[in-house]
């Protein structure tokens, strides 16, 4: 298990789901975290709020400019605009090629079909109609004046709404009721740039340092990829600490090499050794793996 997963070892491996393409390759999709989806939703609501304000201001400006009583068409436009904004904002954006609202795009999320098939317009429609129940009804209940109904009734209503609002927290796949019904889920597909190969950079910059096999056997794949993160960030303090740790562990004398050069060279050498051994069928998961 650990062996097959290691190539994509990530801090949040409990959100990784197998997604086998028709070509038979597992894409290992990352589910969107509840926090990311909440941020996306807040962004979308802010955008909708801005749209609402802009619409209202435009209508008021036109009313003032015209100085007439013919306010009717504008009122219609206002009501219709709010209706369209509330009901079709999500649907229209999720029908697009990115299958995501601006808020979701910002968070690198998109809607996908759970069974790996096509994301249909019907599914998008259903998942957003359910929003009525999960989002707009609870908001209405919450902001209802307390004088209108009994306090107990209101508490019950809030409890009932909470079942829907909090549903994503209580299931493995972070599905909300709309996702359940539509057969969709929200996955994280961030756009990544192709980063330079660190081992390559090392062999260009500095003369290779010769490490003994024992020195290279100190660590496994997990540590290699942690080292990769450290080198990519290149934070001076961390580099120093890590370089000292490794020097002590492998018994390498503190010499004339800078910390950065030492780590780069060690990374290149370690990766070379681990990859060569992996090719022979011996993947060493981490430093405790003595297999």
């Amino acid at each position: 298990m650990a062996e097959t997963r290691l190539a994509s070892a990530r801090p949040s491996s409990d959100t990784v789901r197998a997604m086998i393409t028709p070509e038979g390759v597992d894409l290992r999709l990352n589910l969107g975290e509840v926090s990311q989806r909440a941020s996306a939703l807040i962004l979308d609501l802010l955008i909708m709020g801005c749209g609402f304000v802009v619409l209202s201001i435009a209508i008021i400006v036109i009313l003032v400019a015209l100085h007439t009583n013919g306010s009717e068409p504008l009122l219609i436009a206002w009501l219709a605009g709010i209706f369209l904004l509330r009901n079709f904002y999500f649907i229209a954006f999720e029908l697009g090629p990115r299958a995501a609202t601006p808020g979701k795009r910002r968070m690198g999320l998109r809607v996908a079909s759970r069974n790996g098939g096509q994301l249909t317009a019907d599914a998008i429609f259903v998942r957003n109609v359910m929003r009525e129940l999960e989002l707009f009804l609870p908001m209405t209940v919450l902001f209802m004046p307390a004088t209108d109904i009994d306090g107990w009734l209101k508490a019950l209503a809030i409890l009932w709404c909470a079942v829907f609002v909090l549903l994503p927290l209580f299931n493995r796949d972070r599905l909300r009721a709309g996702d359940l019904l539509a057969g969709t889920w929200v996955v994280r597909v961030p756009q990544r740039r192709l980063l330079p190969d660190l081992a390559r950079a090392a062999s260009h910059e500095a003369p290779a340092i010769a490490f003994t096999p024992e020195q290279l056997d100190a660590y496994g794949i997990k540590e290699l990829q942690v080292l990769e993160d450290v080198l990519r960030r290149f934070d001076r303090k961390t580099i120093k600490i890590v370089a000292d740790r490794i020097r002590t562990k492998i018994g390498y004398p503190e010499g004339e090499d800078s910390d950065g050069a030492f780590l780069s060279a060690y990374y290149a050498a370690l990766r070379h050794r681990l990859e060569a051994r992996a090719l022979m069928g011996r993947r060493r998961a981490d430093k405790h793996d003595r297999g």
Binding site: V25, F83, P97, V129, M130, L195, R271
Partner: protein
């Protein structure tokens, strides 16, 4: 030095150009500039996508460079969603929706539709019987906001006036308001189906009761025929729409309660998609009903004309939904 030339790096060098090309094509498509792609580019996308997937599987076995693996996973997923995503244009999809999907969904849900209609008729009967017997019931069925001053204490004269109110002022606004209100109600009837359809059933019943109470009130003052025209001009469309919405709710509730051979979740999801199609049609019907109610009813003051329009809608909607049509060969 030559020793440090990693196999995984050579692998990356050989394929990098392909990945970059796919990445730039994807960026164009995702920004909606698909029209700017040449035929060659369009044909290349699936090939590049498969090449990237093969790179990904190879990289997982031979490379330990996490930056590279994550890049390939992200690129592969983005391309996957493009290649296996919906490829229909929105307009063609809409056309297919109205030509086959919507009537198909309505036909598939005929049992639920009959059940919803039955419940609503039962509600009408109950509301009518109770209100004829004891007018006090009226207040229980008709919320004061909806009644708008039409209650058992008002005179026949006043009631007649509400049927033929000649208030052209503010009409379109009223129509828009009614539409957004009714659409909200039926979205609700649908969304509540989740709870095994029980709330949808209650909604159908109470709706029917309100209607029955209304009819009872007016027929008690000898205004039955006129009230019928006032209601039917838009009511046929609107009640049909609400019936369909309740039917959609039942469909989901039934699948959630009795999933059959499927897992409960899958059954609910399948039912949800089919009922969702129907809901799209319900929204369209409500737009029509809102127009008829807000504009048609206030502009047309003749009972006969009102009944004529009602009759036309009563024929057209069922004909559209249930008329047998040739099944499409490509399915």
């Amino acid at each position: 030095m030559a020793e440090l030339e990693l196999k995984s790096y050579r692998f990356r060098q050989e394929r990098e150009a392909e990945w970059k090309r796919l990445e730039s094509l994807l960026a164009k498509v995702e920004q909606g500039a698909i029209a700017s792609l040449s035929d060659d580019d369009l044909l290349a996308i699936p090939i590049l996508y498969r090449a990237t997937l093969s790179s990904l599987s190879v990289a997982r076995t031979i490379s330990l460079d996490r930056g590279l693996l994550e890049y390939l996973e992200s690129l592969g997923s983005r391309a996957y969603f493009l290649v296996y995503g919906a490829r229909e244009s929105v307009w063609r999809r809409l056309g297919r929706f109205f030509a086959t999907d919507l009537p198909g969904a309505a036909q598939a849900l005929w049992i639920e539709t009959l059940a919803a209609a039955g419940l609503m008729l039962l509600g009408v009967a109950v509301g009518y019987a109770l209100c004829r017997g004891a007018p006090d019931w009226y207040g229980a069925f008709v919320p004061p906001g909806l009644a708008g001053g039409r209650d058992p204490s008002s005179s026949a004269q006043a009631l007649r006036a509400t049927l033929y109110a000649n208030q052209t002022n503010g009409l379109p606004v009223f129509a828009t308001y009614l539409f957004t209100h009714n659409a909200g109600v039926s979205l609700f009837a649908f969304a509540l189906g989740f709870a095994f359809g029980i709330p949808s059933a209650l909604l159908a019943l109470t709706n029917g009761c309100t209607l029955g109470a209304f009819i009872a009130l007016f027929s008690a003052r000898g205004l039955g025929v006129q009230a019928g025209g006032w209601l039917a001009i838009h009511g046929v469309t609107e009640l049909f729409a609400i019936t369909l919405a309740c039917a959609g709710g039942f469909h989901i509730g039934w699948a959630a309660a009795f999933p059959g051979p499927l897992a409960r979740l899958d059954a609910a999801a399948k039912a949800g998609r089919r009922a969702g199609t129907l809901m799209g049609g319900v929204l369209v019907m409500l737009i029509v009903a809102g127009l008829l109610e807000g504009l048609g009813r206030q502009l047309i003051q003749n009972d006969l004309a009102r009944y004529a329009i009602a009759a036309v809608t009563a024929v057209l909607w069922p004909a559209y939904f249930y008329a047998p049509r040739r099944s499409r060969a490509d399915g």
